[in-house]
């Protein structure tokens, strides 16, 4: 119990330091922006007095350490600043976009994860067969094709050609199908390959041979005996995958004009709306951190060996 508690504390501490590091990286990046924030707000034709007032207002003339301290202090109070463009709170903009991203990301993750799991297990039972090679080639191709291109190809076939689904946008469930499918396909191959190799390795182990010799039916053998052990590393993978998922989400949202966080980040780049960009990225990084923390904690509970590592 003490070991578990120590493990938990170490993990939480690590997550907090990582988050601090992230804020520092973002702060440094935003401070080296070539575009002058004051000019971005007031426009290129603003007179020097207005610019000076804005600089003073934002505290752009203070030493960097003071600015970073102020930035952290605001973060602690849940203040990510205001948009240069609309003057709205960044947290508001994020809150507005988060549900769309959550819907897209979680649907794709759930569908991709379970289909990948299923395909991985089914094909692992037949190592060396045509299905085995098929999975290998399919996963290599699936992991190599660009997400944004896959999205466009799906739009072409199911949107233009067959006219089954809308070309983009959001709202109804049918809007979700193509973007979620795009992301899920990438996820599916990723998990299928991993589960395939892992379950394959487990199936060759002694305890499975024993179970088989004792007459455990094949389905129970694959899904209960082998899967349980093979799932432990998959759980870690799930945590790491959240970061990759955010990248996929950003591209997919752009292809389908899906009103989520990724789209918000990309739009704010072109509008030079640095607070929105930095806020969105920090928020996404925090999401990934929390996901990883949860996975780490679960892992500590599932697998006692980890706590002492």
């Amino acid at each position: 119990m003490m070991a578990l508690l120590g493990y938990l504390i170490r993990r939480v501490f690590r997550a907090i330091t990582t988050l601090l590091g992230t804020t520092l990286i973002l702060f440094v990046l935003v401070r080296v922006v070539p575009a002058n924030p004051a000019v971005s707000i007031a426009g290129p034709k603003a007179d020097p007095e207005t610019l000076a007032a804005i600089r003073k207002d934002l505290g752009l003339d203070d030493p960097l350490a003071v600015q970073y301290g102020r930035y952290l202090e605001r973060l602690v109070h849940g203040d990510l600043g205001r948009s240069y463009l609309t003057g709205r709170r960044v947290t508001e903009a994020i809150g507005e976009r988060l549900p769309a991203t959550a819907k897209l990301g979680l649907t794709a993750l759930a569908v991709g994860f379970f289909l990948g799991l299923l395909i991985g297990i089914v094909t692992a039972a037949r190592q060396g067969s045509a299905a085995d090679i098929g999975v290998l080639i399919a996963t290599l191709v699936g992991l190599s094709i660009p997400t944004f291109w896959l999205g466009n190809v799906l739009i072409y076939f199911f949107g233009y050609r067959l006219r089954w689904l809308p070309l983009g946008g959001a709202g109804a469930l049918r809007h979700l199908v193509l973007p979620a499918a795009t992301l899920a396909i990438v996820e599916l191959f990723f998990y299928a390959r991993f589960v395939h190799t892992n379950v394959g390795g487990t199936l060759a182990s002694d305890y499975i041979r024993t179970a088989r010799a004792k007459g455990v039916p094949p389905l129970r053998l694959y899904f209960v005996h082998a899967l349980r052990n093979a799932l432990i590393p998959v759980v870690t993978l799930l945590g790491l995958d959240v970061a990759a998922l955010m990248s996929g989400v950003t591209l997919t949202e752009t292809v389908f004009n899906w009103p989520g966080l990724g789209r918000l980040a990309v739009q704010s780049v072109f509008q030079l709306d640095i607070p929105v960009l930095a806020g969105t990225v920090l928020f996404s990084a925090a999401l990934v951190l929390v996901a990883n923390l949860v996975v780490d904690l679960l892992y500590g509970v599932i697998d006692p060996r980890v706590r002492h590592g």
Partner: protein
């Protein structure tokens, strides 16, 4: 994340075949990039149709058609191969340099140095890569070097982790203890004794890093954050024409196929090498 999937392709015969297929793809890509001026007589940025009447379908004087501005698609793809290889190669080399250094130093010295470096690795690893790249690409002045630099600076973590792991397993070997006993300096031990031991793994990662960098570069270009215009890049070729997909599907399909083939090629080489090198060692 690549580490989780760092497994070979299965049987030896199969690995050799897939490795050969990867080498053919990569070789073909290199050939097209090197010989681009001889493979097409068109300037990739020039408008080559006399009277513009929409994109021309593949065939005749333009084997892969012309795009929405009346430029030759084959010329743009061939010169785009140069961009991809340049960006991918430079990014990978930079990642490799940073990653191998961090891995060697962290693994060899251990202790606080190692803890600090691995904390840095974790930090970069938990940042959503594409979003971090977007911020970097947005704040740095656009130039041909910006994108490879940015991808390289973000992508070194896998190199660092793998090299560190291998160094940890090599550190207590007798020949290293002997070198230390003879008074070899830290630098000499790392460069002369540890580096050769980790090289096979690094070669594998270099191939996989190349495929990753080419894929990320395509994604950034698609978002409009890639190498600046007018340099032809495959990702931008897709975003430029995607509204024309219904009337000119080849314009979207071809650059995507090019990216896919390049990424598949480097992946096959990398995964194939895992088996081929492992076979020789084991």
């Amino acid at each position: 994340m690549a580490e989780a999937a760092l497994r070979g392709l299965g049987s030896r015969r199969r690995s050799r075949r897939l490795f050969a297929a990867g080498m053919i793809l990569v070789g073909g890509l290199g050939l097209v990039a090197a010989a681009a001026p001889w493979l097409t007589s068109y300037d990739p940025d020039a408008i080559v149709v006399a009277h513009y009447a929409g994109p021309l379908p593949p065939g005749g004087a333009h084997p892969l058609g012309t795009d929405t501005l009346g430029r030759d698609v084959w010329a743009r793809l061939a010169y785009g191969a140069r961009t991809s290889l340049f960006v991918g190669g430079l990014a990978m080399a930079l990642s490799l340099g940073i990653g191998v250094t961090v891995g060697l130093v962290g693994g060899y010295f251990g202790g606080a140095v190692d803890t600090a470096l691995m904390w840095l690795v974790d930090l970069v690893l938990t940042m959503p890569t594409l979003l971090l790249l977007i911020v970097l690409a947005a704040v740095l002045p656009p130039s041909l070097l910006t994108i490879p630099l940015v991808i390289g600076v973000v992508g070194w973590t896998t190199f660092a982790r793998t090299v560190r792991g291998e160094v940890l397993s090599l550190r207590e070997r007798d020949y290293l203890l002997a070198a230390r006993a003879l008074g070899a300096s830290h630098g000499r031990i790392m460069l002369r004794h540890l580096l050769p031991g980790v090289l096979p793994g690094v070669v594998v990662l270099a191939a996989l890093g190349m495929s990753g960098a080419i894929g990320i570069d395509a994604g950034l270009s698609y978002l409009g954050l890639g190498v600046p215009l007018p340099t032809p890049s495959w990702g931008r070729m897709v975003s430029e024409v995607q509204t024309y997909f219904a009337v000119a599907p080849w314009l979207v399909v071809l650059p995507g196929v090019a990216v896919s083939l390049a990424v598949i090629g480097f992946n096959l080489v990398g995964y194939g090498l895992i088996d081929l090198l492992g076979e020789r060692r084991g």
